[in-house]
């Protein structure tokens, strides 16, 4: 265990090296490039332990991961923004084929026009592809989430995406507790999922099925995903024992008496957490998981604390409907006896959330006015 001053991208790459993979294949894109560079360095120095395959596109990267994972290999790729969009067809294929692929997505706005700031729309637009999605608020969470992603993916036979904000995390050098290879390998264990195909023994995978078969398979994937909370509890116990830290799927910091909470995902959660002492009777709910959506855990916090108002920071926008996390929350709270009011601040384009913006927003909030939807440029 060692405290290191590293960037979020370096934290992701080192975590992959610590886990030990058979194959890394990735195509560079800002702001993810440093992950590919670091993993290529590991490969060049003989420290990766597996192969690094250069590919001509993101689509090829994920196709290559598909093929390798089907043979039982542990694989990793990373991308962001347009790169993720370009992978879209293969992203569906990975989960349908039940391949435990781990991918980092560094959030970046999808054009037009070109933009490098960290809108979450790239990863959120892959919502319905059947991947697990973990969101990180700092470099430490990046390092730990990559390790957790391999455990989750391989236990559930579902691909897992680890997501964090471009620049605010990817390019921020900060102190990260980097666990030793030995401890990480103990936590993850060797890849132990059955190969679907043996090299040298030709076969046909995932041939034409009927709708009825698909329904059964989709149901199985849905049920597999519902196993995440239980598995996460086991992962937490192991992390606590080995590293002295763990993470809740839904991290709630609600001061006594507070009846409202800011809901934040990713880098903005840390700014809210920092600002909490200055916020009037307001708590924070940080969501670490988007798929599966932690509806039961959120309802429990709301019920237990008696919250009557949730203010969601959405660094994204589903045009025509509004903030995506706000939508998901409203859906998760539906049917509660007295569900809290869900409001949304939209920071589409990945614009910055400052402490002052938060203070202005909370001060201007009142039940008599229509605050259901606010935009970041109003402050």
């Amino acid at each position: 265990m060692a405290l290191k001053m590293i960037s979020g991208n370096q934290a992701a790459a080192i975590a992959v090296q610590r886990v030990g993979v058979d194959l890394v294949t990735a195509y560079p894109i800002t702001p993810q490039t440093a992950i590919v560079e670091a993993l290529a360095d590991f490969a060049a120095n003989g420290e990766l332990g597996g192969d690094f395959v250069s590919v001509e596109s993101e689509y090829a990267a994920l196709a290559c991961c598909n093929g390798a994972a089907a043979t039982g290999a542990r694989v990793f790729t990373a991308t962001g923004s347009h790169g993720l969009a370009y992978m879209h067809e293969m992203i569906h294929w990975c989960s349908g084929a039940r391949l435990p692929i781990v991918m980092v997505n560094v959030n970046r706005t999808i054009g037009a026009p070109w933009c490098l700031d960290p809108d979450q729309g790239d990863s959120l637009s892959q919502r319905d592809t059947g991947w697990l999605q973990l969101y990180c608020a700092n470099g430490q969470e990046v390092f730990d989430s990559v390790i957790q992603a391999f455990i989750l993916a391989e236990k559930l036979l579902l691909p897992c995406m680890v997501v964090f904000d471009g620049f605010y995390i990817s390019h921020t050098y900060e102190v990260v507790d980097v666990a030793d290879e030995e401890i990480v390998r103990k936590l993850v264990g060797p890849p132990a999922f059955a190969p679907q195909v043996i090299p040298g023994q030709p076969g046909n995978l995932h041939g034409l099925s009927t709708g009825e078969t698909q329904l059964k398979l989709v149901k199985e994937r849905h049920q597999a995903m519902s196993g995440v909370p239980l598995l996460f509890a086991q992962i937490n116990a192991a992390f606590n024992e080995q590293l002295g830290r763990s993470y809740n799927i839904v991290e709630a910091m609600i001061p006594p008496g507070a009846k409202r909470a800011v809901v934040a995902v990713g880098a903005t959660a840390e700014t809210v957490r920092w600002a909490l002492p200055a916020l009037d009777h307001t708590g924070l709910i940080q969501l670490r998981l988007f798929r599966p959506f932690p509806a039961a855990e959120i309802r429990e916090v709301v019920r237990e604390k008696g919250l009557n108002e949730l203010l969601v920071i959405d660094r994204n926008c589903s045009v025509g409907m509004g903030g995506i996390f706000a939508q998901e929350l409203r859906s998760a709270l539906y049917g509660m006896k007295s569900p809290p009011l869900v409001r949304s601040l939209i920071l589409a384009g990945g614009v910055d959330l400052t402490e002052n913006m938060l203070l202005d927003l909370l001060q201007s909030t009142g039940p008599e006015e229509n605050f259901a939807l606010r935009w970041g440029d109003e402050f």
Binding site: P31, T172, E174, V175, W274
Partner: protein, 199 residues
């Protein structure tokens, strides 16, 4: 919890190593027992284009994860970038550290020195870099000189911690870079018109 945070903004040009400098400084602050983060704003950075980097330091690991709008200290590697915007948002009684000298990249707009809102410090980083033969072709590498000056002006990193950080993070001309940092530390001078309490 001690919530005191000190924020830096660094201005320079692509190729001057300001993003690397920010990380080296953050590491030095950490070696001295405080937390620090270094980050950069990305356009399509390339050699010669204006680049901005940031450092945030504090005594707790938790810090806001937002950009820096009102720095306590602005460090200018190349004053030819864009005059007045260099110190935009700099706090009253804050600190402005300039790479200043007779060279073309060190030409500081003269009226800047008359500013009474904040403290001003200068270092001739170009000459020190040349003295230690720190250059890529005809392009002097001034970042370790500026780091020495930053350590002195801010008081947030000791020269010992800075040297340790340079050893950890610099891969070429390590000794020359350390000497350059020490020269930066020892030769930075205050040139303020600023009088405390009158701004």
């Amino acid at each position: 919890m001690d919530r005191a945070i000190t924020e830096f903004r660094l201005h320079g040009r692509g190729g001057q190593g300001i993003v690397v400098a920010a990380a080296i400084f953050a590491e030095a602050v950490f070696i001295d027992g405080h937390y620090a983060r270094a980050f950069s704003l990305f356009g399509a950075e390339r050699r010669g284009a204006p680049v901005t980097a940031f450092i945030r330091t504090g005594s707790e690991r938790l810090m806001p994860r937002s950009r820096i709008y009102n720095p306590d200290c602005v460090v200018v590697f190349d004053a030819t970038i864009s005059g007045n915007t260099l110190y935009a948002g700099l706090k009253d009684e804050g600190k402005l550290l300039l790479n200043a000298g007779p060279g073309r990249q060190e030409m500081v707009p003269p009226d800047l020195f008359l500013n009474q809102r904040f403290q001003i410090f200068k270092i001739n980083a170009r000459d020190i870099a040349w003295k230690h033969q720190l250059a890529i072709g005809s392009f002097p590498m001034i970042n370790t000189v500026m780091l020495g000056a930053m350590a002195k002006v801010s008081g947030l990193a000791t020269i010992e911690a800075l040297i340790k950080s340079i050893r950890q993070r610099v891969s070429a001309s390590i000794d020359a870079n350390i000497k350059a940092a020490i020269d930066g530390y020892e030769n930075v001078e205050e040139v303020s018109c600023f009088v405390r309490g009158t701004s």
